[in-house]
Subunit: 350 residues, 2 copies
């Protein structure tokens, strides 16, 4: 089969690799219907860190179950399933607390399982999914799903759940004032999530016209183009002289976190979901201002059923975050387009 492999910075290739099979009783093999490129894929693509050896890529996908091991429950051959971006057993003490990202027997796509065997990445034709019963979420009536639903469903694999996680971590609720730092796919989904949770004001911080427009389409009430202190000041002016109750930090750099900390009001909360790169939390400043910080790797699996219900009911549509669709053969162009910010998020079809 064909699968995406990162060999070196900016050297991503579609290669012929062995087709996966069921190797353990908890495995399923999924034929990928759609997958995509994540903002976090760009870190190793840009060499931070550079791969020590060729590395399978992709952790967001949906597809059809082709085969299952003897112990798999909850998913069956022929099901259309969404994979959250980490696999998890669904039964350990963390999974039962809905924190599948800390699963005692879980891991990531493109890595290895507990037996040290390769687990395929999502940017390929087939994926062997360990702990399939705990991981995969079937789409009700999946075999009849219209193709136009695919982007919205695929977004539940990571970015929509991650935006939701940022909003929960920043304690967004009815009436909240919210600022979103970052206008990538996660930031845009965070706008959707904040509105869905009842936020009264959602201020998208973005300098890019097309992304500003999408943010407004997703429910942003205001857009602020300024960054850093000037951005924080603009938010405060919009809110009558006080910072935002909740700031959703969806980038992960030192500058974006600093902007978030400037923008939140005293007593507010910053929810952060961008993998931190050089991020610092100044304890004294947080303490004197009573600013809380929370977030982390989103347990997309926990949020999938609830968000899926809303998508299928027509109440939620994160699909438009995919602004470029390419055949899997052109995956390298997909990485370039996202790296150069020509695309918000690229959907790939094998």
């Amino acid at each position: 089969m064909r699968a995406t492999t990162l060999h070196a910075p900016f050297d991503v290739r579609l290669e012929q690799v062995p087709e996966p099979t069921v190797e353990g009783p908890g495995d399923a093999v999924v034929r990928v219907v759609a997958s995509c490129i994540c903002g976090s894929d760009l870190w190793p693509y840009r060499g931070d860190p550079a791969p020590q050896k060729p590395r399978r890529m992709g952790h967001e996908f949906l597809g059809v179950v082709e085969a299952t091991g003897d112990e798999v429950t909850g998913v069956r051959t022929g099901d259309l399933v969404i994979a959250p971006f980490l696999w998890s057993d669904g039964t350990c003490d963390y999974c039962v607390r809905d924190l599948q990202t800390s699963c005692r027997h879980g891991g990531g796509f493109g890595g290895t399982d507990e037996q040290g065997r390769l687990v395929d990445g999502g940017q390929g034709e087939y994926v062997r999914v360990p702990q399939a019963g705990g991981t995969l979420v079937p789409v009700p009536g999946g075999s009849e799903i219209d193709q136009s639903w695919i982007p919205a469903l695929l977004a539940l694999s990571d970015v929509m759940g991650t935006g939701h996680h940022a909003a929960l971590a920043a304690r967004v609720g009815p009436g909240s004032t919210v600022a979103v730092v970052g206008d990538g796919a996660v930031g845009l989904c965070a706008v959707l999530a904040a509105r869905r949770l009842g936020a009264e004001r959602v201020i998208a911080m973005s300098r890019h016209e097309s992304r500003q427009e999408l943010a407004v389409r997703f429910g942003a009430t205001d857009v602020v183009a300024e960054r850093g202190e000037a951005g924080a000041k603009a938010v405060s002016e919009l809110l009558g002289g006080i910072g935002a109750d909740s700031v959703l930090e969806c980038v992960g750099t030192k500058a974006s976190m600093e902007q978030a900390l400037e923008t939140v009001r005293d007593g507010g909360a910053v929810g952060y979901v961008g993998v931190p790169h050089g991020v610092e939390f100044p304890a004294r400043r947080l303490f004197s201002r009573n600013v809380a910080v929370g977030g982390g790797v989103a347990p997309a699996r926990a949020y999938l059923p609830e968000l899926l219900d809303d998508v299928l009911a027509g109440r939620l549509d994160p699909g438009p975050v995919f602004d470029v669709e390419l055949p899997l053969d052109e995956v390298a162009e997909g990485y370039r387009a996202m790296h150069e910010r020509r695309a918000v998020k690229v959907l790939l079809r094998p």
Copy 2:
């Protein structure tokens, strides 16, 4: 009148100073009935930082209103009042959000007001309180209060509200598992607060027998004497192999925060209320474990009415945190006793 002044590290004196009067329309003058020494007073007492010039001490007191300015509402001459440890106007955008610690026109006892005039400390005979209407909380039926209630009421000035703040910041609720780092007055009040909020398990981390006993009296279900990693391991063993949902960090040192971060489970929260000294928050580690951190200077004013109700109804008694009572004349001995950990918290009577 007599008032406590810190001249240099370990040089605290009771001195004759001018008796305060009403200087502005929002002022009240309070005759102190009881005050106390705070763990945070020990930082400058120990020279961290050393006072640049003699500094009035004390920020926790209750007393009787002797005089009020023309614009004071809500408190009257003769009222027994509790002062939260910061004064605040009660009307600004932060005060209406119950974050009086960020009041736009507030400040601290022993400092200066907006006009640059000295505001007395609590460890003296009288205190001029700016923004008295926004700050002071009258005790219903105060003139008839039995003397035995004084310690419990005085604890609402700071430590009980601060313990409660730690518990809220760490998201303690019904059924929570909780560990408390720090067995000073705030840590002990945090035990009380966690139980009051419905925690199922409250593990006091303490090596001192008398403090362990008080923690158990306050509702701790378990005591762990080990510190650092060994302490975290002991907590995890008590909880069936997983860390605590909520950790209340009531010290403020690098080591105590590290212990808190080791002790909390993935997906849990650390509430911290000790003034941070060298504390660090490792962003990557918090991120991968989804550990939230929150807290800061407790808005004791916000919590006072609710906690006061519970004290007066006999449902809450933080009074036993005062294990030594001294006349104000012996304030220097009070500091020594707390510095040497011979006392948990010293109550002073003028």
